[in-house]
């Protein structure tokens, strides 16, 4: 690999190699201030030319690494940064064995964590990032890492991938924290946001989860809160986990302990102000 970038995010380290300079330069800029991992990295991501000649003619990036999805479509080189981010997700989703991985956003206050999970478009990523700018410590918007031994949540504060309309909500942040606008991606218009200094400085500090939320966004939805039973929460969290099945019994034990001990609520909201009001109300009781 001609260009290499090593990155520590929470308890996980990545080595990203690329045949092209630009994706690595973009990563370096986006992750400025992140610590460099010591020793051998947990996961390797390789961005390679789909075929040798395509490196020069119409370049296209294929994501490779320790774990590979055979049908992952190559992306145009202009989306190399997105390919690197997707590559890191893929290695985590398929290879992580130390934590139960939940596709969820998490934020922290006073050592206590709020976990938000839901389908794509539910707004967990946007809400997590917004709360992270409004007095909470941002722990992650993509994966929450549930410790199999002690049930704490570990931060995984990767760059937030802001999509489409949510880009406008972050106009006020320091432009140096924003990556390039990527248009025409499989998820529409995307721009990455580097988590703030506190999120990066405290990426080694886990937190005790105290509340699980299942947010749902819809322009026509009335703001509502619904109690979610532990059985439904368990089922939804197994669906939200990328490695529940692979972990076997330790995943079962961690997840039953998790849903057995924590209140779970589903919230509907039509805008972020409503969501924040509901979250503040629920957090005060948690």
């Amino acid at each position: 690999m001609n260009h290499v970038f090593r990155l520590q995010v929470g308890p996980v380290s990545f080595r990203i190699g690329s045949q092209w300079r630009r994706p690595v330069a973009q990563l370096r800029r986006l992750y400025e201030g992140y610590p460099e991992p010591e020793g051998v990295c947990d996961f390797t991501v390789r961005l390679e030319a789909e075929r040798v000649w395509r490196r020069w003619l119409r370049p296209s990036v294929a994501i490779r690494g320790d774990y590979v999805l055979p049908d992952a479509a190559p992306l145009p080189l202009a989306q190399g940064l997105l390919a690197a981010e997707m590559g890191m997700n893929l290695q985590m989703a398929l290879g992580q064995k130390r934590f139960l991985l939940l596709h969820a956003a998490s934020v922290e206050r006073d050592g206590r964590a709020l976990l938000m999970t839901g389908h794509s478009g539910a707004g967990k990523s946007t809400l997590g990032a917004l709360l992270g700018e409004r007095g909470w410590r941002f722990m992650g918007d993509e994966f929450a890492l549930l410790d199999l031994a002690d049930g704490r949540l570990h931060p995984f504060p990767r760059a937030v991938s802001l999509k489409n309309e949510s880009l406008g909500l972050f106009d006020g942040v320091d432009p140096a924290r924003l990556g390039p606008v990527l248009t025409g991606t499989p998820k529409g218009r995307i721009r990455h946001l580097r988590p703030n200094g506190e999120a990066v400085a405290r990426m080694g500090e886990p937190a005790t989860p105290v509340l699980i939320l299942f947010p749902r966004f819809g322009r026509d939805l009335e703001p509502t809160v619904r109690e979610v039973g532990a059985a439904e929460a368990f089922m939804r969290l197994t669906q939200a986990s990328t490695n529940y099945v692979a972990l076997g019994e330790s995943g079962f034990d961690a997840l039953t302990r998790f849903v057995g001990a924590l209140p779970c609520r589903a919230i509907d909201y039509a805008d972020t102000a409503q969501a924040q009001a509901l979250i503040d109300e629920l957090w005060a009781k948690a």
Partner: protein, 92 residues
């Protein structure tokens, strides 16, 4: 024809967690997680004493539970078929 005898893995090969009247069961042999509603967990518990027919399981369960059914063995047989399909019991 003799009634089928059903068997299940011993309780120590499974992890169980009660939640809202349901039982979450992790089956080590298959690595699968099951959601069980009553009386399925009770049937598995009854089988921990050894293989049994539907009527014998009903009798074993009758020692600990009141069974509200005119034909307990038929009701148990229907649940046994579901547990068999889920891979949690088998015929010996």
């Amino acid at each position: 024809m003799a009634a089928s005898l059903y068997a299940a893995d011993p309780p120590e090969t499974m992890r169980q967690f009660e939640v809202e009247g349901l039982t979450l069961l992790y089956h080590r042999k298959s690595g699968l997680t099951h959601f069980l509603a009553p009386p399925a967990p009770q049937i598995l518990a009854a089988l921990s004493a050894g293989p049994a027919s539907a009527a014998e399981i009903a009798a074993r369960m009758g020692e600990s539970f009141e069974i509200e059914s005119e034909d307990p063995a038929a009701a148990i047989a229907a649940r046994l078929a579901e547990l068999e399909a889920a891979g949690l019991v088998w015929r010996t």
